[in-house]
């Protein structure tokens, strides 16, 4: 089966500085792929390029066989940004109803996604009164509207307690089993173990593109945090 996302020689500059230096990789369908790396390594820029909202310098990004940003993809990709892009002066449900209308999603979709992210109790709360974690889940809920085939999620679990984090990862895996391709970024290494595939990014370059087990075997360590350090040492030595 063709990969869901194919990136070839992707170069992106922001503010005159090149932040992605010719990335090439593929994201397989129906899996949870983790995009890992420290803050400022280019994760968000890469995700924006995949969603098609980033001005790209050079290279190709293909999603579901179409160039990233094509009009046909706008219903097929769900995207949640790091700072939750919801209207703070609307309730959670009003936000979801609006975005569902824009996507042409079924009428009962807002209630469905609210239940999926565990936010049903806050449906009638103004977004401005939500906690950081709740706000993040509201943003995630918007991305789930209309059952997109690809989900691009920028740090969706930041600031959540371990129980909620566990619940969201269970949700991601359930969606992936149903055929949804998920690309999820994180700067926390312990989340890497929950992914089926890992892309490790540092300073705009790919350090590793492997399964968690493959990465552990390659770096001869069981700890992924340690593996990351060894990858950096390896790169420095090369």
């Amino acid at each position: 089966m063709d990969p869901a996302i194919v990136v070839r020689d992707l170069r992106v500059s922001r503010g005159g500085v090149e932040v992605l230096h010719g990335l090439t990789f593929a994201v397989p369908r129906g899996q949870v792929t983790g995009l890992l790396g420290p803050s400022g390594c280019g994760k968000t820029t890469l995700m924006r390029a995949i969603v098609g909202v980033q001005v790209v310098g050079d290279g190709e990004v293909t999603v579901l066989g179409e160039p990233a940003g094509s009009a046909g993809l706008r219903r097929r990709i769900g995207y949640s940004t790091q700072s939750p892009a919801v209207y703070r002066d609307l309730t959670v449900l009003e936000n979801l109803r609006y975005f569902a209308a824009v996507l042409g999603a079924p009428k009962d979709d807002p209630e469905r996604v609210l239940a999926e992210v565990g936010l049903a109790d806050a449906a009638h709360q103004l977004a401005s009164t939500l906690s950081g974690g709740q706000l993040g889940r509201a943003g995630l809920a918007v991305a789930l509207l209309g059952r997109p085939e690809v989900l691009v999620l920028d740090e969706p679990t930041v600031g959540l307690d371990p129980v909620l984090r566990q619940e969201l990862w269970t949700l991601f895996h359930r969606l992936a089993e149903g055929g949804v391709t998920i690309l999820v970024s994180s700067h926390v290494m312990d989340e890497a173990a929950r992914c089926e595939r890992l892309i490790v990014l540092r300073e705009g370059e790919i350090l590793a593109d492997d399964t968690p087990d493959g990465l552990r075997a390659h770096t001869r360590t069981t700890d992924l945090e340690e593996a990351f350090l060894r990858l950096i040492e390896e790169r420095a030595a090369a």
């Binding site: 969603v51 940003g69 940004t81 892009a85 209207y87 975005f99 209308a101």
Partner: protein, 244 residues
């Protein structure tokens, strides 16, 4: 562009306004209160009759300009615009959604100011009411369109509100309110000729004074409407699917 998405956007913006009652109260009441103040300051029916239409011209423009530029700036900075640009929403859906929502708000604003002026304050119209309402609404639309356009050049809300005097004061100074346009220096008259507010004020003067607004009124209306459409299209050009 899709009617369904445009109307959903209008409904969303009206809902946002509903949650912000203080803004709605200010928007609806301030023009009327200023009208009442003007009446007592002038203390003269004829002078009030000359100034009232100018206020009815300036207020819908001013308020809609401010509200739209802040609202769209928020949309740009909060990430909701980026989210919408990644969805099947046309740029005109968003702009017309704003235009419709704030046009509705302008209707309420103008209706109250007019009702109070025509009854309590005794503003006298020799002709029909509709030309006046038409010009006031076109002005609101023009304000919305220019607000959208200017918000693209502001990074913060502080900058956005500073655009208000830049856009507003020259148009008032050169609009023929203080000095008739024909008496201005040639250069200033040329500038005045390309500012939409000059035509709006002229149209409003016709709407208030004529029993049957004719050719010149319609020419002015077409110029104001054309300027609003032009500003809306320029505003659409500032909304980018991809940003750096």
């Amino acid at each position: 562009m899709s009617l369904r998405i445009t109307l959903a956007t209008t409904r969303r913006i009206v809902t946002q306004l509903r949650h912000d009652r203080r803004t709605v109260a200010l928007m609806v009441l301030v023009p009327t209160l200023v009208m009442i103040l003007l009446y007592y300051v002038m203390d003269d029916e004829r002078a009030f009759g000359r100034w009232a239409p100018i206020l009815l011209c300036v207020f819908p423009f001013l308020v809609m300009f401010l509200i739209t530029s802040i609202a769209t700036l928020r949309e740009r900075t909060s990430g909701t615009l980026e989210r919408l640009m990644a969805m099947p929403l046309g740029r005109l859906d968003l702009l017309l959604g704003y235009g419709l929502a704030f046009g509705l708000a302008a209707c309420v604003q103008v209706a109250l100011a007019l009702a109070v002026s025509l009854t309590w304050l005794g503003l006298d119209l020799p002709g029909p009411l509709w030309p006046l309402v038409l010009v006031a609404l076109l002005n609101a639309l023009l304000g919305t369109a220019l607000g959208l356009l200017c918000s693209a050049f502001a990074r913060t809300e502080f900058q956005a509100v500073q655009f208000m005097p830049i856009v507003m004061i020259p148009q008032i100074l050169l609009g023929g309110i203080l000095v008739p346009r024909a008496q201005m220096a040639t250069l200033l008259e040329w500038i005045s000729n390309v500012l939409p507010m000059s035509y709006a004020i002229e149209a409003m003067a016709h709407a208030v004074a004529d029993t049957d607004p004719g050719g010149e009124f319609w020419r002015d209306v077409v110029v104001v409407a054309g300027s609003a459409v032009l500003a809306l299209l320029l505003g659409a050009a500032t909304l980018r699917r991809r940003t750096s």
